[in-house]
């Protein structure tokens, strides 16, 4: 469980977050949503201490994140950034880097590190491509490799900044299905998503941001049906009950 209280943070001298209060429960997919520039990425990056916050607290299971060393933080929170480099290394080497927080100088891998990496590669379905260069993979496969690295980190929390960007529709659903499985395993999954249909289908918990404030927090359907979405995005969500469940599309 991550709890954010009265979080203020600035970027290049301008305050972006004006007192964010939100909770992100364990075993659930929490989605941060809101229009561009509302502070979603800044909130996510604050949880990693990539953006220093001027005031407020972020607690992980009751412990302030500020009390953790970078290594301890990395053992608790993994991160899938939106823009990732395509390093000129093998997939397995990338995934091995997920074990970095567990190694002390001179960082020699132990048998349990190899085992964890093997499990992670198997879980994302990249075992057969482990020796391939990252450059040789498709966008969806690269995303899986980074996800495997995050899994090898063996953390309770995984943060994903717009993980479906640049993925085709099949890979988007595959990634979201896998995220659902991770939540079922008890992990706290926090991601930024823009697509209302995906939010309705996959999010257990939604935090809607607008102009650096939390506009509404709650279940996906509750938040999407509220007037807050119209206020934040200037669009109207329309719901349709299909045979396979509730769907949501957007009308301007």
């Amino acid at each position: 469980m991550i709890r954010v209280h009265d979080l203020h943070a600035s970027y290049e001298g301008e305050e972006i977050l004006h007192g964010i209060d939100a909770s992100f429960p364990e075993g659930k997919i929490s989605v941060l949503m809101g229009p561009n520039g509302c502070g979603k990425s800044t909130t996510l990056r604050s949880m990693l201490r990539l953006v220093p916050h001027s005031s407020g607290t972020i607690e992980l299971n009751g412990t302030p994140l500020s009390a953790l060393s970078p290594q301890e933080l990395a053992k608790n929170i993994a991160y899938l950034p939106q823009s990732r480099s395509v390093p000129d290394i093998a997939v397995k080497t990338l995934v091995m880097h997920g074990r970095f927080p567990y190694l002390s100088y001179p960082r020699r891998y132990r048998p349990e590190d190899h085992e964890k990496v093997r499990e992670s590669l198997e879980w994302v379905g990249l075992t057969d491509l482990a020796d391939r260069k990252m450059e040789q993979l498709s966008g969806g496969q690269r995303q899986k490799a980074y996800l495997a690295m995050a899994l090898a980190q063996d953390t309770d929390v995984i943060l994903m900044d717009e993980p479906t960007t640049f993925l085709d529709i099949r890979n988007q659903f595959e990634l979201l299905d896998r995220s659902k499985q991770l939540a079922k395993q008890g992990k706290t999954v926090i991601m930024i998503l823009h697509d209302f249909e995906a939010v309705l289908r996959y999010a257990d918990h939604v935090v809607l941001l607008h102009n650096g404030h939390v506009l509404q927090e709650g279940g996906a359907e509750e938040v999407l049906r509220s007037g807050s979405v119209r206020e934040a995005f200037q669009v109207t969500p329309v719901f349709h009950q299909g045979e396979d469940g509730l769907h949501c599309y957007v009308r301007q």
Binding site: R45, L48, R49, L50, S69, P70, Q71, E72, L73, A74, K75, I77, A78, Y79, P81, R84, S85, P87, D88, I89, A90, K92, T93, L94, H97, G98, F100, P101, L103, Y105, P106, R107, R118, L121, T127, D128, A130, D131, Q153
Partner: protein
């Protein structure tokens, strides 16, 4: 995961590193034996066993060829490893100690020392390191503050290099008696090398290479990008500065005895990556061996090709490095347009 694939990759890396070591050794033996006066392998062996003696072969070996070859090996490995580290830390394959102004910073420091009459090898090596470090951090800080693109970083380095070289040249003109006022220093070369000048630099270079080779995991994590490296628990700023300091130390120590040798730190990492890939654990030792052999072979060619005249090794390196740099730029352009 296919374990046979893994072991064949490991075997290939070991074979390549062994081949680079053999290349370095062969280059060293050739550089010792060939020249205006030839030394046979038998004479070499006897002279090595008996230590410094009075025979011509022994004197040539111990006071000319051995220090010169050791200098080539150290300079090659130091600059190649420095270049690899700089390219990885800045995520910029066009960067190298010669191009971003590191060598020029070290060169200026050596010029200042010589101008002030400070000829202690330790003082020159230390000043050279400081000069290299200041130039490195000026380029890197300006690049970060201005969010400069990779090419702009290189152009910034070119500007810094031009300024620093202008000051160095001015010192050389104003104080012609300074020991560095020889062509070898300004373009890089090994004709003025001696044991005393080499020792402090050798200690610094070998210690730095060993240290960098124990930090290969950190270097690879750093090259994944700041956000990913931070999320893996790496203290990004501290490690980046540490690596740049080591790169400056390697380049600075080299300049203190070899002058401003260009392009080694650019050419060798590129060739090495083509053979062994980009993982630092394999790349750095391979680069160190390949760089050592490469500079030694270049020195041999510089001494033999125009015999009885001898051109500075740096001139030969510039002949190779200039076209190589243009080729790299064209390759990048192709990549962008595809």
């Amino acid at each position: 995961m296919n374990s046979s694939n893994r072991s064949s990759t490991a075997n290939r890396s070991i074979t390549l590193i062994a081949a680079a070591a053999a290349f370095m050794l062969a280059a060293a033996v050739l550089n010792i034996c060939l020249g205006a006066s030839r030394i046979s392998l038998v004479q070499l062996w006897e002279a090595l066993l008996s230590g410094p003696g009075t025979s011509a072969a022994s004197r040539i070996l111990w006071y000319v060829r051995l220090p010169r070859t050791a200098a080539c090996l150290l300079a090659g490995s130091g600059l190649a490893v420095s270049g690899t580290v700089i390219q990885k830390v800045l995520a910029n394959n066009l960067a190298s100690p010669g191009i971003i102004g590191v060598n020029a910073g070290a060169g200026l420091a050596v010029a200042v020392c010589s101008g002030l009459g400070m000829y202690s090898a330790w003082v020159i090596a230390g000043a050279s390191f400081l000069g290299a470090m200041i130039a490195t951090f000026v380029v890197v800080i300006v690049a970060r503050k201005s969010n400069a693109s990779r090419t702009t970083v290189v152009l910034g380095g070119v500007a810094v290099t031009a300024c620093l070289n202008a000051v160095t040249e001015t010192i050389i003109v104003l104080i012609p008696d300074a020991a560095l006022a020889n062509v070898d220093f300004r373009v890089g070369g090994f004709s003025a090398v001696n044991h005393a000048r080499l020792l402090p630099a050798a200690i610094l270079i070998l210690a730095s290479i060993i240290l960098v080779c124990t930090l290969t995991n950190e270097l690879d994590v750093l090259s994944l990008g700041d956000d990913t490296a931070h999320s893996l628990g790496l203290r990004v700023g501290r490690m980046r500065n540490g690596f740049l300091t080591l790169a400056a130390l390697l380049a600075g120590a080299t300049v203190s005895f070899a002058g401003i040798l260009g392009f080694v730190g650019l050419i060798v990492p590129h060739i090495a990556r083509r053979f062994i890939g980009n993982e630092s654990g394999k790349l750095l030792p391979f680069c160190a061996l390949l760089g050592a052999g490469f500079v030694t072979i270049c020195d041999l060619a510089a001494r033999l090709v125009f015999a009885p005249y001898e051109v500075s090794t740096g001139i030969l390196l510039n002949f190779l490095g200039g076209p190589f740099f243009v080729w790299l730029l064209l390759k990048r352009k192709d990549k962008h347009t595809k």
